[in-house]
Symmetry: C2
Subunit: 320 residues, 2 copies
DNA sequence: GTTGACGGTGAAATCGATTTCTGACAGGGT
DNA sequence: ACCCTGTCAGAAATCGATTTCACCGTCAAC
């Protein structure tokens, strides 16, 4: 593993000069040429580790997401990547798997690897960003914004979207609308459920037994849907608060199409590779990619020294 | 950002002692306690960068995949992660986006960041691993194995799977079976097409016009399916060589169900969130997660000094 | 002809850990 | 009393870049 010293020795110059060649500083044409040749012949790759240690920062940003198997987050990741790459930054993806421990470990790595910044879709409301903040590493929250830290955030209109989805079901004539949402300690889950309550309240008492807290995953949606169907008086429609649980619910409902009374269904967030469901579904589209793009721009601004007070950007739930 | 020196000063010991405390070496109980307290009160996080520079390796492994939006690869990633985490390694995901340039950049980062190893699902057959190999960094190829480098690889039975899928269609009575496969420079694409040829040949001349090379993505499958349907004598069934193109083909075929003559369809790899297609589809299941698990184990072995000759492990296409 | 500015260069300090080397000291065996 | 072994701990070297500082020429200005 060739080092800058070996290159310097071969080219007959000092290490400082080699460094200058690679960082575009003034070096005489002739020495620059010798250095480049030496570097090539040794297949020299400058050590990012040494560079990062000296510079106290690297051109890598961490994107921490709770579920790498959810197309919503991967689509967001693509948005982040495109912006970051264009600005010369690399993105490393960290999958926290909805696990606070893993998440904390990745945040630790971001700190101790001197990463330039972090974009975080937190596993829960209570995550500890104090380490990053103390060290003045920029953090942008996306999709979900953690409690207790005043940082940049990019979110969507969760409550309004939940309301809109439920209202759409009402307009279709459904009377007993249930709601399957995510974990209680995740902001997007409670806000979307609040939207459901908003829409249901004017039509009568809010039936909390029609509200199921699940885990934002396929199996959770599956299980919750089953529970709803097994109730004494089952709902006639359901608002599902994210895409994967929507898939889970569909797995339950699809086989019943034609045999059981039709159920209404609305989903918050685009169904993955959809267009194949055997029933009409109301979808509140989610600008996943755009969330990523916006968060990445925000983060890059901070990295470049922008220090205005933290902003929260709320995107509309329009299709991109 | 507290350093080991500040901790040492506060605890009244030398930096060496602080290091020893955190690395489980012999230190008197009393000094160890002082060090821990000092570390806590300064919220000290040891710099991975400095550590990595000195140790010449880190506990991070890179997983480079060509398409983060393909559930096959994310499922594989989960397998890798689970094994790596259990062994104390962190995984960073790098999305090469089927782009050789980005891929090369990520491999460079793996080298210059002193990562412990790389698991690579290459964007194409011709990727340059010489940098990693020269520096003796372990690399494991997964799903696809690059040409010209003798390294560990974990693959599936592509040709046999392609043959099985096509044969299944024949057994269902289809006569003119087309094939939609991936790029010419991707091994899995050509091997699966070879399997198709194997099955078709005994029944008559291999109609190469029924073979479409696409890009392993939804849109590519969509476009290829369209082209097939517009032929003078369209096929009556299609074998699609990966999951996403299968989705694309389905997008074309689904609306025709009931109106046009039934088409047969077989797909190599599990359809994402499937079970919702309006037609029978033969699926050759792909042990995505298991691929990841196996690759990770192989890589960990290498990292731990195993230096037997490179192995290629071929997994069966059984459901996990 | 002196002064100043400026481009080019190398020596050496620096980033923050780990690790070798070395010495101090305690305890056990003869 | 002496030697040997072993534990504990600090000083200093090390990893490989970047960057400051100092110095040397050269050239233009006055």
């Amino acid at each position: 593993m060739a080092t800058i010293y070996e290159v310097a020795a071969l080219a007959g110059v000092s290490p400082a000069t080699v460094s200058r060649v690679f960082n575009g500083q003034n070096v005489s044409a002739e020495k620059a040429k010798r250095v480049r040749e030496a570097a090539r012949s040794l297949s020299f790759t400058p050590s990012r580790v040494a560079r990062t240690l000296r510079m106290q920062s690297s051109e890598v940003i961490a994107l921490v997401i709770p579920d790498i198997e959810n197309p919503f987050f991967t689509s967001m990741a693509r948005g982040v990547e495109d912006v970051a790459q264009a600005a010369g930054y690399s993105v490393v993806l960290c999958n926290s798997d909805e696990d606070h421990g893993k998440e904390a470990r990745y945040l630790d790595i971001a700190i101790s690897a001197n990463m330039a910044g972090v974009i975080l879709a937190a596993a829960g409301d209570n995550c500890d960003l104090s380490g990053l903040i103390e060290r003045k590493r920029p953090v942008v929250a996306v999709d979900r914004s953690p409690h207790g830290f005043d940082i940049d955030a990019v979110t969507v209109e969760n409550r309004a979207g939940g309301r809109a989805a439920t209202t759409a079901l009402q307009k279709q004539g459904f009377q007993r609308i249930a709601c399957i949402t995510g974990p209680r300690d995740v902001e997007t889950a409670t806000q979307r459920a609040d939207g459901w309550r908003d829409a249901v309240r004017p039509t009568g008492p809010v039936e909390e037994r029609y509200l199921k807290y699940a885990d934002f995953r396929v199996d959770g949606g599956h299980k919750a849907m089953h529970e709803l169907l097994e109730m004494a008086e089952p709902p006639d429609a359901v608002f599902v608060a994210n895409n994967l649980m929507g898939v889970g619910a569909l797995q339950v409902l699809s086989p019943r199409v034609g045999t059981a009374p039709a159920m209404g269904m609305a989903v918050f967030g685009d169904l993955p590779f959809a267009a194949m469901a055997p029933m009409a579904i109301t979808v509140i589209p989610l600008p996943a990619r755009h969330l990523g793009v916006t968060a990445a721009k925000l983060l890059l601004d901070r990295i470049n020294g922008d220090d205005q007070p933290p902003r929260t950007i709320v995107l509309r739930n329009h299709a991109a």
